[in-house]
């Protein structure tokens, strides 16, 4: 457990993607089975415990430590698990145990121990661990373990052990279970590739490149088909029959995460057999709802009947990877699309439909359709269109992001002129730069114009622009709060940033009442005095139009 905890701790501080992969790969390469397999389960989110409430943790420390010293320490550290982990004392006069419990032992214990035995066992484990191990254990048992890396990155780290592509691990993953002995044996070349016996496995998805104006000249419009790009969640719906004859249906996110439990309504409504690529949307009264509405269904552990009723999930399909056991991925897009259209025509499900093609003869015609989807066939669903997708009619379904066959051509984002208010130092490579920016727009408060923060952006700028903003921040600092600097933001002095963003949502967590989606810095407006920046009312109007 100590080594796993040290890895978790390091991942939490490290910001680089490749660095995270290497830290995990180093751990897997130097940790024996089955310990590393249990760690892999923890890293991919396959382990979750809620055995203990914070009250139990408090009770444990009260037994061991002076309550006044605990209170002072908690007050200083600010996090219960961390305070207890750091100050946990051995019983007076006791020698430290010679065995530090392993993660696998702890996980086994948590799965099998009767509830009343937990406090005593927990104290024994805490005695045997170092402070980082104690911290991770307390986070684990209170259900608050945060892993600073995605499941995808952990699988990528496993793949690097054998020099494999991440998608190869992804392909066999659905059939694997902790402690993943066959998986490690395979990637290390000690055993053959494990057979994927899952009747509804995930297939790595094909992704597109963003198209630039300069790309069009080299592309022949007649070689491409166009579809609407929907502002929903890309999903892969897979249905099959287990050896026991049971029908299995799963919905996967584009990274292969099984999200079926959150969408029982859609899972139940699917009646095909195969693997289908499409967009998850909320459709009410025959009309696709905005992403803000869909968001009500995302990141929920449990779904209430009310949510199912108010936000019915829907799948708009645009590709067919497998049909009734037949793999179509080696066939061209046009052929797959024809198979998909025929399948959808046969389906009885009101929750599944076909994403229509957008007819066009030239790039100019497609640009016109993209600018006005409502009159180009999207009709009442136009609000949920965020651009068009271009797919070569002859493109095979290739996992990853091959350049050439698929392009996304997004609608121009919304922009707003906002004023830089605070800047924070970045992480990793950017730790010497002020690279995270909080910006605000004008609003009236008690009869005076003041700036209210509306968002935070940390990308979108070039290296030169970063240098220029960093220099401005250092020169215009009016206040310092730890790593954060407040910069000059007066009507006639300050920096105006043109912020591009994808949409707005209401938020009670922000003073402005608004949260921005994907805000990024589009341009630096040195030419513009802050008094000419946008007002909150402008954003509210936009929110009204979108909402």
């Amino acid at each position: 457990m100590n080594r796993f905890a040290a890895l978790l701790d390091r991942l939490a501080y490290e910001s680089g993607r490749n660095a995270k992969i290497r830290l995990m790969a180093d751990y897997f390469a130097t940790t024996p089975d089955p310990e590393r397999g249990i760690a892999l389960a923890a890293l991919t989110g396959a382990l979750s415990f809620t055995n203990a409430k914070p009250g139990l943790v408090r009770a444990l420390i009260q037994e061991r430590a002076d309550p006044v010293l605990f209170a002072m320490s908690y007050d200083y550290v600010g996090d219960l698990s961390e305070t207890v982990a750091l100050m946990w004392p051995l019983p007076e006069g006791a020698a430290p145990p010679d065995h530090a419990p392993l993660l696998s032992e702890i996980v086994h214990g948590l799965e099998t121990l009767p509830k009343r035995a937990l406090p005593g066992q927990l104290a024994d484990w805490l005695d045997g661990l170092d402070d980082t191990g104690r911290w991770a254990l307390l986070k684990l048992i209170t259900g608050a373990l945060r892993v600073g890396a995605s499941a995808r990155l952990a699988k990528t780290a496993v793949a690097t052990l054998g020099g494999l592509a991440p998608d190869e691990v992804e392909l066999v993953w659905p059939g694997m279970a902790p402690p993943y002995l066959e998986l490690f044996a395979w990637v290390e070349g000690r055993a053959p590739r494990p057979e994927n016996l899952d009747p509804a496995p995930f297939r790595p998805v094909m992704l597109s490149h963003a198209i630039e104006d300069s790309d069009f000249t080299a592309l022949d419009p007649s070689a491409f088909a166009a579809e609407w790009k929907w502002d929903g969640i890309r999903i892969q719906a897979v249905a099959g029959v287990s050896p026991e004859g049971e029908r299995i249906v799963r919905l996967y996110s584009r990274t292969g995460e099984d999200i079926s439990p959150a969408f029982p309504d859609l899972v139940e409504a699917l009646d095909f057999e195969g693997a289908m690529d499409g967009e998850l949307l909320v459709v009410r009264e025959g009309r696709v709802q905005s992403f803000n509405v869909l968001q009500q269904r995302l990141n929920r552990k449990t779904v209430t009947a009310k949510m199912l009723r108010d936000y019915p999930a829907h799948m708009r399909a645009y590709d067919l990877l497998v049909e009734a056991g037949e793999d179509l991925r080696e066939q061209p897009f046009a052929a797959r699309r024809a198979r998909l259209a025929a399948l959808i025509a046969r389906t009885a499900s009101p929750r599944l439909d076909l994403s229509p093609l957008v007819p066009f003869a030239s790039w100019e015609a497609l640009a016109a359709a993209r600018a006005d989807p409502a009159s180009a066939g999207a009709g009442v669903d136009a609000e949920a269109v965020e651009g068009v997708m271009l797919k070569r009619a002859d493109s095979l379904y290739l996992p990853g992001r091959p350049k050439g066959p698929w392009w996304k051509w997004k609608r121009d984002p919304h922009t707003v002129d906002a004023v830089l208010m605070y800047a924070q130092r970045g992480h990793g490579k950017r730790s010497s730069y002020y690279s995270d920016y909080t910006f605000g727009v004008w609003t009236q408060a008690e009869g005076v114009d003041t700036l209210v923060p509306v968002g935070k952006a940390y990308f979108g700028f070039t290296d030169e622009e970063l240098l220029a903003i960093d220099k401005f921040v250092r020169e215009a600092t009016v206040n310092r709060f730890g790593p954060v600097r407040e910069v000059l933001h007066e009507p006639d002095a300050g920096l105006v940033l043109e912020i591009a963003f994808e949409g707005l949502a209401r938020s009670t967590r922000h003073r402005s009442g608004i949260a921005m989606r994907f805000p990024r810095i589009a341009r630096l407006r040195w030419d513009k005095p802050p008094r000419e920046a946008d007002r909150l009312e402008t954003l509210e109007k936009l929110l009204g139009a979108e909402g």
């Binding site: 501080y13 550290v77 750091l86 208010m421 992480h427 935070k456 402005s512």
Partner: protein, 351 residues
């Protein structure tokens, strides 16, 4: 007699009326005893300074040869009489030359320990507990959450990171007097024999350590090296430099910081540290309480840091204890003040 008659807090520092001297005064005084060379304890401009040879030399390096009107060196174990008060120096284990001062007068003994640690440190003499009536202790890490791990274990973290990221420069923030040289010695003890690059601010002090017979190996100035030299190298710099413009010259740096504060995650995160190393030159909670117990004192005075917790602990051990609330200490080498890590962050907005 009351111990107060021998030594008491006064504006400017601890004052001994019988000998008419201050210990580690925060303003210029006619006569000062200096426990060690950190800038919050050792200031320039006193009339007469009594300190160890090493502390006097380090003060001369930092402030120039004329940092005081007159100086007098005292060796560990040596005693001098000042106005009838016997002053004896003992090792404090904090940094090179650091001393505790034992003051005796009419059967009353007070030990002013300055900053100290009981952990092993190859770059300075080991702390010796001295029997006394009153022990004056700092409390920089005076909370039970501060229990510093073995410095060798923390060094192993750095060594492991060098192994996993052999192409990245590892920039370690460390106070320029004491901590920087200790990190060098720890790396050498862990088998790291490659050149260690340093910020210019560390040059003279590190050279002085080596001149005192403390081997630190091949130490080179970072500004004289080529960018390619830094791949997989350790670069040591003052804490303020590691996230400053200075650090931009290094390839994909891993930012480390060697400090007792790194034990608390919010602290490390607040500073943007990627590799926190809990290596401290101050006693941790166990060290403070063990040192106080070992002196057999009847009374503890706590100078600076988390005084309340240590005073509470002393009372539960039937010791008289009082916080002195001394100001001006604890920010040695731009060290973060020991207040709770609660920066007033701007309102958050999430994408």
């Amino acid at each position: 007699m009351r111990p107060d008659e021998l030594l008491h807090p006064a504006p400017g520092g601890l004052y001994c009326p019988k000998g008419d001297f201050f210990i580690d005064p925060t303003r210029a005084v006619p006569r000062a005893l200096i426990t060690h060379g950190h800038s919050d304890h050792a200031r320039a401009g006193h009339g007469h300074v009594l300190a160890t040879r090493e502390t006097l030399d380090l003060m001369a390096i930092r402030y120039g040869a004329n940092f005081a009107g007159a100086t007098q060196a005292i060796a560990y174990g040596e005693s001098v009489e000042i106005g009838g008060v016997t002053v004896t120096a003992h090792p404090a284990g904090h940094v090179l030359g650091s001393a505790q001062f034992e003051l005796s007068w009419r059967g009353c003994t007070i030990v002013a320990s300055g900053d100290y640690k009981d952990a092993r440190d190859p770059t300075c003499a080991t702390f010796v507990p001295v029997r006394c009536h009153v022990f004056i202790s700092e409390a920089t890490f005076g909370l039970p959450v501060f229990r510093h791990p073995d410095a060798a274990t923390e060094t192993a973290k750095l060594m492991n990171s060098l192994h996993v990221f052999p192409e990245r420069a590892h920039i370690v923030g460390a106070y320029s007097l004491g901590k920087a040289q200790r990190v060098m010695a720890l790396l050498r003890a862990a088998g790291h024999s490659a050149p260690i690059y340093i910020h210019g601010a560390l040059e003279k002090i590190s050279a002085y350590y080596q001149a005192c017979g403390i081997p630190l190996g091949d130490i080179r100035l970072a500004k004289e090296a080529k960018k390619a030299d830094f791949a997989g190298a350790v670069v040591i710099a003052p804490p303020t430099s590691i996230t400053d413009i200075w650090s931009r010259n290094f390839p994909e740096p891993v930012t480390a910081f060697a400090s007792g504060w790194m034990r608390v995650r919010a602290r490390a995160r607040q500073r943007g540290i990627e590799l926190p190393l809990v290596i401290s030159d101050h006693a941790d909670w166990d060290g403070l309480t063990a040192a106080i117990s070992a002196t057999g004192c009847e009374e503890v005075w706590v100078t600076h840091g988390a005084e309340d917790a240590l005073v509470h602990w002393a009372m539960t051990r039937q010791l008289r204890a009082r916080p002195l609330h001394m100001v001006g200490y604890g920010e040695e080498e731009n060290e973060a003040p020991p207040a709770a890590p609660a920066p007033a962050s701007p309102p958050e907005a999430t994408p």
